[in-house]
């Protein structure tokens, strides 16, 4: 056999393995593609071999080729073959290939369900591991539905290796199959407290992912996470938890309060930067949602900012980056805290790392205020000059403008300054991209701020007049766009211009002809506007000479534009000229033309709101959806209506912007060539002449300016003020104000000290130098005043996971049991089956024959695989769940609000101690708790404290009382390692433990939760559970089963695993303890055969099994301690009993703890050495106990109840418990 194997593999040693393939590819660099296609052919041959080893090798090579970008989905079926190999080596290759190339749409995936299930249940934990790992990459809805149960079972596997994988993949299951979330959630929650830190971490990971999308459903887990946070040392887990709290705090303000203390500790103590950073982030998030209302948050915030500063100052670029990132988040809520670090942030602008510079810029953006705007912008402008990279310079420039224009110019107090800044920007180098941006800013400011118009118009006039000097620079910088705005503003507000004549002269310089066409057009149009004003002025002064002169100059100079190569310019020039000629004619006749002429340009320009077009009301009777003509054929594209207004806007403000962006140099070149060709073939085109003429003209008229002035230093042009002047003015003003303030202060101090309220930080209201009268934007008449932007609701896969996790499960909410797809008998499934058969029969048959066989009986053989699951009764498992859930929900809600309210009563330093206690409430039913002894100490201290308090305060303070009783209850369950699981029966193969659970909602039912543990290395299946019913107590069997039938357990147990099943019992009377006999039967399956075994047991149900933990508060909502006294005195509880037991030195606290835990009692009140406890049965009998520590270490228990038998049984139990 072995020899045969050797021989076979010798045959194949000349197949390429992965390393050969890689080497081959490296050796065929020049014709890689050929080589690979040759290899793929080889692989195809290899895949046809029967030997799995050969196939696996081929698949392994395919994985490599996939990485190089080759599609290997054609081999999907072969991959599945390899996956189904019993050998781990090949299986792993198969699963790896599957994880790389399968996805949810791969259709062969549906064939894999049973194979994956088999691997999941494999004896070898690595088989399960690779299967889960593969599954995580190609989960589909079908797989998730079919395998949910198996994964859930693996979540309680005894091997942490498997357990943690199962926990982690449950997230993928939930994503694909949201219905699984609720049934699986209790177990997932349980894993948060898994003894293995890896499993715990996985559970935290999953819940954090879930909670990130729907945080509110996970609020009830806050106490558990809180405990984890204070106890865990795994930074990875801590980070996740802290991130989760970041998502939870916005929903629950009290949580934020609770977190302050531990977060502060972490921030102070941790050495891990990652943890520190996440803590700070969470603090920020908490602050964002609740402001700084929370006491102590200010200090925390200060601490955070302080730590962030350290991060930013660090030499590690990563920390610096993250520090800035976090700063920008703080900025939103605590701008002042950040503003004090302005120096540091400005410093970051000099950093060599671009991402850091951009972050710093972002921060500055949020930091500006009216006060510091000028200063910040000044610094930024210096940076613009200094920086080299054009991209960053562009970014700076646009940031400057963005900062200034944000929120409708909110922070600008002096628009003169802003206009000056804009003008200065035009003179900066390399501002190429933003010419049009600056231009539109100028227009926007001039149009919207009425008071600035005069200043703006004159500035622009100055710019136009000096354009000849700076135009070279402007052109180089792509700033000509600015001239567009300048000309437009001058024209529009011409009446405000001081010297219109000289402006007209300046605008008529021949160099204007070198500007882009659209700017020339604006020039022409606006010259006329200025001219109109000049005419009016001239006529008012009755200076006919001047008027006529002007007209003639215009006539003369404008005729140049007639020769423009741009049609638009030509046309405008010619119509302008004819108007001018007409005017000249009138002027010669000495008639007044100005008024009539200026009518042409009448009308005020008001800004239009961006939403105006949308808000135009639809006239009555107009149906926009109705067709005006018959609908055109579908192929025709329609121009969307909405684009129309936008287009107009774009054309008005930035006619060239789009063009420039669209055309790459190649495109331009291509177009030029096309154009030239077209021109060549066009007989009407005048070759080159136009261009020639234009060049000559340029040379003739102004020879001096023909060469461009290449001035690298920005000229200081007289008449253009520098923005620095304003900064100085502002600083002066501030200094003066400061001085005044101090004077005032002194003055006030001398007077009445009490009324001094001047604080340094106070944001003073800076009186703007200009009345900032931002013009109201125009809206169409009848526009509705609704500002609500329609929210776009995204369709995300996480919505399906938004479900209430606390509400009880309904019977219909079950995980689907594995069922067989009987209809499908696809070849692949058969292969899997085939292998099984081969194994079983230990026969070698020829494959072809075999195929035929298996095709005949696919269903039959499938049954062999999963025999137990078909007969599973769903209800047995789920109804108990429901009860438990209901109980839990009520509890959980109470707990959370209690847990949170806790901190209201306790001051901050105590909070830390409190931390240890509260979350235990949740674990009242807890299974195993790992508590350290040191936790006892703080709890005790706290209690003492409480007691003292209690004495002081009157009993009317019910909140305090609430605290007292719950605190004790907490301790009760926390200090000792208490487990309510008792051994039910055990043999060498299987071990049973059980616990009883009850609910006040079910008067006659209790649940026995039975833990089955497989002690063997074999598979145990077909487990059935049966109890010999007594008259009083019966096992609930579903369906029409006979009262003697066994209940099948809905799972099988892989080697060394355990699982829990819940069985319901009905009890007609709850006053007596019950003893019942029962049997568990099961099949042990080893390599060769299966054998049936059984285990007999006795189930002992004490009376406490029928008790329900009922905090007294939930029975009587108000003032319960009074009610408790009333209950005791009322005669509702006539039966009495008492015992006195030697407690053997066990302190009272521990006794109480045990009593509470085992007898499901809760403490109503504890004063000194005595405590009152209360519980009720499922049939609502009261049990009241008074436990006193008597002298000599004795403990006396007095009980009252309305059922004597129940009471005496409980007292017996209590006696046993106290005695230990």
């Amino acid at each position: 056999m072995a020899l045969k194997n050797v021989k076979r593999s010798i045959d194949r040693i000349f197949d390429k393995n992965l390393q050969d393939l890689v080497r081959g590819i490296r050796n065929h660099k020049e014709n890689e593609v050929n080589y690979i296609s040759q290899c793929i052919d080889e692989i195809k041959v290899e895949l046809k071999q029967e030997n799995v080893a050969v196939k696996a090798n081929a698949v392994n090579k395919l994985i490599y080729l996939q990485m190089l970008g080759y599609d290997i989905s054609w081999a999907a079926f072969n991959i599945i073959e390899v996956m189904s190999s019993p050998k781990f080596t090949f299986k792993r290759i198969g699963y790896l290939a599957a994880s790389q190339c399968f996805h949810s749409d791969t259709d062969v995936l549906m064939l894999t369900t049973n194979m994956i299930r088999k691997d999941l249940g494999s004896q070898n934990n690595f088989d399960a591991g690779i299967a889960i790992n593969g599954l995580s990459c190609f989960m589909t809805t079908d797989l998730a539905r079919d395998l949910a149960n198996d994964i859930l079972a693996l979540m309680s596997s005894i091997r942490p290796y498997t357990r943690k994988r199962a926990v982690l993949i449950s997230y993928k299951i939930f994503l694909c199959y949201p219905e699984a979330l609720r049934p699986a959630f209790p177990r997932l929650k349980e894993k948060l407290e898994d003894p293995d830190s890896g499993v715990q971490s996985a559970a935290v990971n999953v819940i954090c992912e879930l909670a990130r999308k729907n945080p509110k459903n996970y609020l009830s887990l806050a106490p558990i996470f809180f405990k984890l946070m204070t106890s865990s040392t795994n930074n990875w887990v801590l980070i996740k938890i802290i991130k989760l709290f970041g998502a939870l705090t916005p929903l629950e303000p009290r949580l934020g309060k609770k977190l302050i203390e531990p977060l502060t500790n972490l921030i102070h103590n941790t050495s891990a930067m990652s943890l520190l950073y996440e803590c700070i982030n969470t603090v920020i998030q908490g602050m964002q949602s609740h402001g700084s209302s929370i006491q102590g948050s200010q200090n925390l915030m200060k601490l955070c900012v302080q730590k962030l500063r350290i991060l930013i100052e660090d030499s590690d670029q990563n920390l610096k980056y993250l520090g800035l990132l976090a700063m920008s988040r703080i900025l939103k809520t605590h701008p002042k805290a950040v503003q004090s670090h302005k120096d540091l942030i400005l410093q970051c602008l000099d950093d060599k790392d671009e991402s850091i510079r951009l972050r710093a810029l972002d921060l500055l953006f949020g930091m500006v205020s009216k006060k510091n705007l000028m200063e910040i912008i000044k610094k930024l402008m210096i940076h613009v000059e200094k920086t080299e990279g054009t991209q960053y310079r562009d970014e700076l420039l646009s940031k400057i403008i963005e900062i200034c224009s944000q929120n409708n110019y909110q922070y600008i107090t002096n628009f003169e300054w802003y206009i000056t800044v804009l003008v200065e920007l035009t003179r900066m180098d390399g501002a190429s991209r933003h010419g049009s941006l600056i231009s539109s800013q100028l227009l926007d400011v001039a149009i919207r701020v009425k008071t600035i118009r005069e200043f703006a118009a004159n500035q622009m006039a100055a710019m136009l007049e000096n354009a000849h000097a700076i135009s070279g620079q402007l052109r180089r910088n792509g700033m000509q766009e600015v001239l567009f705005a300048a000309a437009y503003i001058c024209g529009e507000f011409a009446e405000l211009i001081e010297k219109p004549d000289s402006l007209i002269h300046a605008m008529l310089r021949p160099r204007v002809m070198t500007l882009p066409a659209n700017i020339q057009c604006v020039y022409l149009q606006n010259i006329m506007k200025v001219f109109a004003i000049a005419l009016i002025q001239a006529e008012e002064e009755e200076d006919n000479e001047r008027a006529l002169n002007l007209t003639r100059v215009l006539l003369e100079k404008l005729s140049l534009f007639l020769q423009s190569s741009y049609i638009e310019v030509q046309e405008r020039a010619s119509s302008t000229l004819s108007i001018l000629k007409y005017i000249e004619k009138l002027q010669v006749k000495e008639s007044l033309v100005a008024e009539e002429f200026s009518i042409l340009f009448k009308g005020e320009l008001n800004p239009v709101a961006p939403k105006a077009q949308r808000k135009v009301p639809v006239p009555e009777g107009l149906d926009l959806d109705a067709w005006i003509n018959d609908p055109p054929s579908s192929s025709e594209d329609e121009q969307p209506e909405e684009e129309f207004p936008k287009k107009i806007y774009d054309e008005l403000y930035s006619p060239t912007r789009e063009k420039r962006k669209e055309m790459s140099p190649e495109e331009i070149k291509k177009r030029k060539e096309e154009r030239l060709q077209e021109q060549a073939s066009n007989p009407h085109y005048l070759m080159n002449k136009a261009a020639d003429g234009y060049q000559k003209l340029d040379a003739e008229v102004d020879p001096g300016l023909a060469g461009e002035l290449n001035i690298s230093v920005p000229l200081h042009v007289p008449g253009l003020p520098s923005s620095e002047r304003y900064l100085r003015m502002e600083q002066d003003r501030q200094r003066r104000a400061q001085a005044e303030k101090t004077v005032k202060k002194r003055h006030k101090k001398r007077g009445k000290k009490k009324f001094v309220h001047v604080s340094e930080d106070e944001e003073e209201d800076i009186a703007p130098t200009h009345a900032v009268d931002i013009v109201q934007e125009e809206m169409p008449e009848g526009a509705a005043k609704t500002d609500s932007e329609n929210e776009t609701t995204k369709d995300d896969p996480y919505r399906a996971l938004d479900m209430d996790l606390d509400s009880p499960l309904t019977p219909s909410e079950t995980l689907p049991r594995p069922r067989h797809h009987e209809v499908r008998s696809k070849p692949d499934e058969e292969k899997v089956v085939k292998e099984k058969k081969q194994k079983k029969k230990h026969k070698k048959k020829e494959v072809k024959k075999h195929k035929k066989k298996s095709r005949k009986a696919p269903t039959e053989s499938l049954l062999v695989e999963e025999p137990a699951n078909e007969q599973v009764s769903e209800v047995t498992q789920n109804t108990p769940d429901t009860i438990e859930k209901k109980e839990n929900k009520a509890e959980a809600k109470d707990d959370l609000s209690f847990w949170l309210s806790n901190s209201d009563a306790v001051s901050a330093p105590e909070a830390a101690k409190k931390v240890e206690g509260p979350e235990k409430v949740v674990q009242v039913n807890g299974i195993e708790e790992d508590e350290d002894d040191h936790e006892v100490a703080p709890a005790k201290e706290k209690k003492k404290h409480k007691k003292k308090k209690d004495k002081k305060e009157t009993k009317k303070h019910k909140k305090k009382h609430h605290n007292v009783n719950d605190t004790v209850e907490m301790e009760a369950s926390s200090n000792l390692q208490l487990s309510s699981y008792k051994l039910l029966g055990e043999n060498k193969e299987i071990k049973l433990e059980f616990e009883t659970r009850s609910s006040s909602r079910e008067e006659k039912k209790i649940v026995v939760s039975c833990l089955f543990e497989n002690l063997t290395e074999n598979h145990i299946k077909n487990i059935e559970f049966n109890i010999l019913d007594t008259l009083n107590t019966r096992l609930v069997r579903t369906g029409g089963e006979n009262s003697h039938d066994a209940v099948p357990i809905p799972f099988s147990l892989p080697a060394l695993s355990r699982n829990e099943c819940q069985l319901q019992l009905t009890a007609s009377s709850v006053t007596m303890p019950q003893r019942m006999r029962g049997t568990v039967t099961y099949m042990v399956q080893d390599q060769e055969h299966t054998k049936q075994e059984k285990l007999d047991f006795k189930l002992h149900l004490p009376c406490s099994a029928y008790l329900v933990t009922t905090p007294f508060s939930s029975v009587f909502l108000f003032s319960f301690s009074n009610h408790f006294t009333k209950l005791l005195t009322s005669g509702d509880v006539p039966d009495k009993a008492s015992v006195k037991v030697d407690s053997k030195g066990i302190p009272l606290d521990h006794v109480l703890q045990k009593l509470c835990f085992f007898l499901k009692l809760s403490v109503v009140e504890q004063v000194g050495d005595s405590a009152s406890l209360y519980s009720s049965s499922i049939q609502h009998h009261h049990i009241c106990l008074l436990v006193k520590a008597a002298a000599n270490g004795f403990i006396s228990v007095d009980g009252k109840s309305n059922n004597a038998s129940l009471l005496s049984n409980i007292m017996d139990q209590a006696k046993e418990i106290v005695q230990g």
């Binding site: 690595f126 790992n133 890896g198």
Partner: protein, 189 residues
Amino acid sequence: MIKAILVFNNHGKARLCKFYQHYTEEQQQHIVRETFHLVSRRDDDVCSFLEGGTLIGGSDYKLIYRHYATLYFVFCVDSSESELGILDLIQVFVETLDRSFENVCELDLIFHVDKVHNILSEIVMGGMVLETNMNEIVTRFMEQDKLEKSEAGLSAAPAKAAAAIKNIDLPSLPKDLKLPDLSKLPSFR
């Protein structure tokens, strides 16, 4: 969640691609190329975070990378992951490789992609971090290796011999990834 893990060398040649979300092979290549362009033009002394490319990502996603000698290790993650945590995770990954291959170098990654995948699968599963403890990772990986060897047994001998012969002419490339100060792992130690 981690969306993708990419390892490529200084020339943009992919050495490992693991996507936790489906992309076609063509898209995958595109992503590798784009990521390479984004990452390679950055100096070594700038920060390790990048705000996503166009294909992979969106505003919620970040590229977090580390550069070791000839290789870039890039993780694409969403906002639920801690940036510094992922940096440490990359370090854990590389150190694990270093331990498993004994002084890992690019050649190891080139010729043993499958092994690298197997190691990675012990660290990250389905886009979620599975294990950060290096000892645990290495132990498990070794155990599986052993299992594999025991399965191969006698029948693997000829193949091994053949591989040894083939390996003789392996080009001698610099065999060191130059792990920078490995003590810098605050989060997991």
